[in-house]
């Protein structure tokens, strides 16, 4: 069963098509890796799911609920981390989470649990503006994880983390479907990260969905098309390159 489904979802800004008629199928309880070069439309797609930007075409459903009619019920299902950590610099990590906890109507223990999950308990009293980049990233993740939402939308969650932090967060994301039964929709330009985390991948380029399926399916598709399959990076580059060449030909014609 798909918890998130899109039908020809599009977002255009004047002449620029950030997302062009993509149809995603995100199964419940999976880690869905969303791959694409910079400017491919990954963040825009995630913002569409959160209502931060409005689609110019197509529709999507979250847990069977249609957007925009069910904006609030949809947002109740989602914990998110988009682009960069969002916080109040004048408040401590704990106070930041407490604000979100109160807005979501969660019990007091929820903030402490989220801080514990991302390893910020020892610095919870420190002002968020005094956190290092990695700590801010962890705080952003804690804000997404608070209340154990059934769906997590994470945009480049390991940005700014050191190798140990990347490993910890990767393991955390990997474990969430089993721990809480939640679905994780995660984007990254770090292909090895996605390879290690995701059950299913979607590859986006210039707003088009080039591929959607398991890593095994990606491999067999690449073999059929004669693309390299030694590692995900080579396959990804070949797919994107082929799409870029096709787009250039289309433009010239």
């Amino acid at each position: 069963m798909n918890i998130i489904e899109t039908q020809n979802l599009s977002k255009s800004y004047a002449e620029f098509h950030a997302v062009s008629g993509i149809s995603l199928h995100i199964p419940k309880g999976s880690v869905y890796g969303f791959l694409g070069p910079n400017g491919a439309g990954k963040s825009t797609t995630m913002k569409l799911f959160l209502g931060l930007t409005q689609p110019t075409g197509g529709t999507f459903t979250v847990d069977g609920m249609q957007y925009p009619e069910n904006r609030i019920p949809i947002l109740k299902q989602i914990g998110s981390f988009i682009e960069s950590p969002a916080f109040y610099g004048n408040l401590s990590g704990e106070e930041n989470l407490d604000i979100i906890r109160k807005l979501l109507g969660l019990p007091k223990s929820a903030a402490a649990e989220a801080l514990e999950l991302v390893g910020l308990t020892s610095v919870r009293k420190r002002l968020a503006k005094k956190y290092s980049l990695g700590m801010k990233q962890r705080l952003g993740l804690a804000e997404a994880l608070i209340g154990k939402p059934p769906i997590l939308i994470l945009d480049e969650p390991t940005n700014g983390l050191d190798p140990v932090g990347i490993h910890e967060i990767r393991e955390l994301i990997r474990s969430l479907p089993q721990k809480w039964g939640c679905t994780v929709f995660v984007s990254s330009h770090l292909l090895t990260e996605i390879e290690r985390m995701a059950d299913i991948v979607g590859i986006l380029n210039h707003g088009h969905l080039l591929f959607e399926g398991t890593l095994e399916q990606l491999k067999s598709t690449a073999i059929k098309k004669g693309y390299p399959t030694d590692n995900l990076e080579d396959t990804f580059l070949a797919l994107v390159d082929a799409d870029n060449r096709q787009s250039e030909r289309g433009c010239m014609q």
């Binding site: 409005q54 109040y88 004048n90 109160k102 503006k129």
Partner: protein
């Protein structure tokens, strides 16, 4: 709960020292005025309170609306500075709730400021003059009137701050509005309806009802503007 959250968000940004400072400064105006000038002649006025307001209210209001302008800019700056506003938009809350929470918060803080200021006026009346028995009623009427006339200014300052992500831009626009308000003639009814000019009006039996109606209408218009702004922002995002 929104009000309590706003109280929390306003910590460590200089809001509370500004609140205390501006309240004390505004409250000190009538006291210092009497001490420096000697007793203010209130024989021409109906009561000592009217005399005191006539001599001090313009300057006190100027401080009040400058405090409102700075507070509105500062409160929205904390939302925009580290992207907290975007996070709020991804939570299952009504998009306008941040605005209404801040409106309630600044209105309550303005009420506290006015309480300190009217306490100072009451002190001056009792210490230097002999007020009549109806003084407390008169004081409460003036207090309520001033608070109501201050509300459109609060909402407009917050609307400006919500639209401008840069604190300097919203603060600049609000300060320009304050100076425009001080230049407008207070005896011209239509001009004095400008939300930043409205708080300069004092309780006057002849004009009370029109000004109260104007303040309520302005509040309604500004709240409808906020509702429309939320819809427009959503549709163009």
């Amino acid at each position: 709960m929104t009000f309590l959250l706003e109280c929390k968000k306003a910590k460590r940004i200089g809001f509370y020292p500004a609140l205390i400072g501006s309240s004390i400064l505004a409250a000190a105006i009538p006291i210092l005025n009497i001490i420096i000038r000697g007793e203010i002649d209130v024989t021409a006025s109906k009561s000592p309170l009217q005399g005191l307001l006539g001599a001090n209210w313009q300057l006190m209001t100027m401080l009040n609306i400058l405090f409102i302008a700075a507070s509105a800019s500062l409160l929205y700056h904390t939302e925009y500075a580290d992207n907290a506003m975007q996070k709020l938009y991804t939570l299952p809350i009504h998009e306008g709730s941040v605005f209404y929470g801040k409106t309630l918060f600044i209105s309550v803080m303005s009420l506290l400021t006015l309480t300190v200021e009217f306490s100072a006026l009451a002190f001056c009346s009792y210490y230097w003059y002999t007020p009549e028995n109806s003084f407390i009623l008169e004081l409460c009427q003036n207090f309520g009137y001033s608070l109501l006339l201050l509300l459109p200014c609060v909402v407009l300052a917050l609307l400006i701050s919500e639209f401008c992500q840069s604190m300097w831009m919203s603060l600049g626009i609000c300060v320009v509005c304050v100076f425009i308000a001080t230049m407008l003639p207070t005896d011209q009814f239509l001009l004095s309806l400008f939300p930043f000019a409205l708080p300069f009006q004092m309780l006057d039996t002849a004009q009370t009802v029109p000004y109260l109606c104007a303040a309520c209408t302005e509040l309604l218009i500004l709240i409808v503007t906020e509702k429309i702004a939320v819809k427009i922002r959503r549709s163009i995002s």
